[in-house]
Symmetry: C2
Subunit: 420 residues, 2 copies
């Protein structure tokens, strides 16, 4: 096996721990300097590969790379840029291979969700056909936890923890004030079409009657009458009601309750506006004073309250991707395998990319209580270890000290540019 350079890129919405995966890839690659030369990172994800805008990670000190483990978001830039099908735009793939060839890149580490798994697979297949084989390994990442064939997705444990901590704190607030003020509080969470994030909020309720009282999942069609009855009954019994609502909740006709209608670069509908919609409904039909919070990016960037489990797994999948690559593997996603719930034990595994690409893993029905408004014991067993442990970043002057890399550009070798 000859020594080749590696390319690493971050894809899609960033998380609190995707940089921990980057650190895993880079640190492991540095240990395999006999097989892996330089790790080039794509500036702004795959866009950097298409435009030959590569970052030389060897210009970063060991300390800077280690600091990525406690730095949220994408240190090299990520992209919402989905490569088209091979038939539609063969030129994109050919350009990628051309850039990889020019920089002697033999390893492709792609850190993303379901769409990125699809890209990773295509590159693996096409490079083979084009006579410049590249070992393509997918490093899983998505706060939505909707990747199949892995126990969980790095990035999820930290938003899960953020959600559970935040709704617990808001619940203490409501409990204090409900006698004369706000009766209903709604926390709107991201998570797209899967209810994993909202489910995690349910962990804050550790005893019967403890809030959050109501969780709304995309997996359960929204039933206005049942919802209002549940909220009303909760306020009457406990004095207040706290709700975690998934941005992707839909009614029985499959329409999103939220209003926002824009579409992102992957063709996904941009969701949002769930909380005010629910709040107005509650005010109009039940007359209760409400407040709501929209967590949005705060939740996926919240490295300050990241889960220790999540940080460790994100780092481990990055390292494992390199180990698999130097062992000669390609066309796989690194996965997390649960060995036991309690004590929580996990190991690293692999899944073939063609089974991962473009599949969304929804919450199983047995994780959702019969009435559809909460989680079951099975869900708790699954979720609990994922938010375990605190992994605090270092602070100075009261603020977390996150890494800002140099991101030195690699000299271009191709004469032609490329329009993205």
């Amino acid at each position: 096996m000859t020594r080749k350079n590696a390319f690493y890129a971050q894809s899609g919405g960033v998380t609190a721990v995707i940089n921990a995966s980057a650190a895993g890839v880079i640190e492991a690659a540095r240990e395999h300097s006999d097989k892996i030369g330089t790790v080039y990172a794509g500036r702004d994800g795959i866009v950097g590969a298409l435009t030959e805008d590569l970052i030389d990670t060897s210009a970063e000190s060991a300390g800077a790379i280690a600091a990525l483990k406690h730095t949220p978001a994408g240190a090299f830039g990520s992209a919402r840029y989905k490569l088209k099908g091979l038939e539609e735009n063969r030129a994109q793939y050919e350009r990628l291979i051309e850039v990889f060839k020019a920089h002697d890149i033999g390893y492709f580490f792609y850190n993303g969700g379901g769409d990125s798994a699809d890209t990773c697979l295509k590159i693996s297949q096409l490079s083979e056909k084009m006579g410049y084989p590249i070992q393509a390994i997918h490093v899983p990442k998505t706060m939505d936890n909707d990747l199949p064939h892995t126990d969980c997705s790095p990035g999820f444990g930290s938003v899960a923890k953020y959600t559970a901590v935040s709704i617990r704190e808001a619940g203490f607030d409501l409990a204090s004030m409900c006698k004369t003020s706000t009766k209903v509080f709604i926390l709107e969470v991201m998570g797209r079409h899967a209810g994993w994030t909202a489910a995690a909020g349910g962990l804050a309720s550790e005893a019967d009657g403890q809030d959050p009282h109501v969780l709304l999942f995309p997996e359960i069609a929204f039933d206005e009458e049942k919802f209002l009855a549940k909220v009303d009954e909760t306020v009457k019994r406990h004095g207040y009601c706290t709700i975690v609502a998934s941005e992707g909740v839909r009614n029985a006709d499959g329409e999103f309750l939220s209003d926002a209608g824009s579409t992102d670069a992957f063709g996904h509908k941009q969701l949002g506006g769930m909380a005010p919609t629910l709040a107005e409904l509650i005010k109009n039909k039940l007359g209760y004073k409400y407040h709501y919070a929209i967590a949005d990016y705060l939740m996926r960037a919240a490295r300050h309250i990241a889960s220790q489990t999540d940080v460790e797994q994100a780092y481990a999948v990055g390292r494992a991707a390199v180990e698999y690559a130097v062992a000669g593997k390609s066309g796989i996603m690194v996965s997390i395998v649960r060995e036991s719930d309690e004590p929580y034990e996990w190991s690293i595994g692999e899944a073939p990319l063609d089974e991962v690409a473009n599949v969304e893993k929804m919450m199983p029905r047995e994780f959702i209580s019969e009435d559809g408004f909460h989680i079951t014991e099975a869900a708790r067993r699954y979720l609990k270890p994922l938010i375990a442990g605190e992994s605090y970043p270092p602070y100075a002057d009261g603020l977390p000290q996150y890494a800002r890399l140099k991101n030195v550009a690699v000299e271009k070798k191709l004469s032609e540019g490329f329009e993205v």
Copy 2:
């Protein structure tokens, strides 16, 4: 001086550290058992005094009281309930004195903001007139930081830290994604008519060009044209723009930019809806993709990221209130006196309540940059020590362990009830 019982109540919107003040009051009172008998807490604030619904804090262990130091919100319940003027509703004040008399209460510790200072003053004055003098001491609390005659208000340092940490994290997210996705992010923060909370977000920008790029204060009339030009210029220069917007921002006519029109029990307009208003404006006029978060109660309940300075000050003002009381004082607010900026040194002082009640302290103009969109060095010097230090709560199973008190009711002594 005869031994008397004490009454403690929490008032208005709760904070991440108001319970630390409660712990200060109760622990100090226990040390002065020669002068102070039992500390009774009002269930749901002053409402508990009016309805003779008192909580016996002596039923709580030393450990439970100590745990209040790391527990957000109001452990005994707070209330948005403003006592009317003496002429309008003398019966309320007479009832309070009657309840205090029945339970041999000689000390009144009221933990709140400007409205509560007013109530505290009236009780001090009226009890004197009614021949049952009560030593009334105001324990300052407000996340809005708008109390006069104190360097800062306990509760503010922690929302300030939450805001600065959150917008820094969101900024890292935007920086990663802006090439192909969101260009503008708005964080809407509470803080009523004063811009202190938004100003604190400015601390996250430690070098020229670092985000947040734009802060919107209620103290500066919103100028649509200037705002849009600033956002556009920022996106063009840095690739993205992050904004912290105060809920209380108004246009040149003094109208709130937000839509929500409800009014709370104090007659204050309930604010909210600033972020979507700004986001729509940006989308329509500049065409940039946006995201926004609305922190709402999450910020004031966020004990998990509380400022160590804030926790210490909240605890200290609680203790000091008791010390002032046993020294014979009444009709005062405990205050925080800044001795030096760097190193930050502070001490405890006092302010006469008639100078505190119903006065809102706005951001001084010299804390706001000339263009109105950021903070000055003077503001940084003032704000920086207030967010310093981390004071993490204990965790179990990934979740913060906050105190849940027994809140045992004291037997009623009066035959008549009271409608609130």
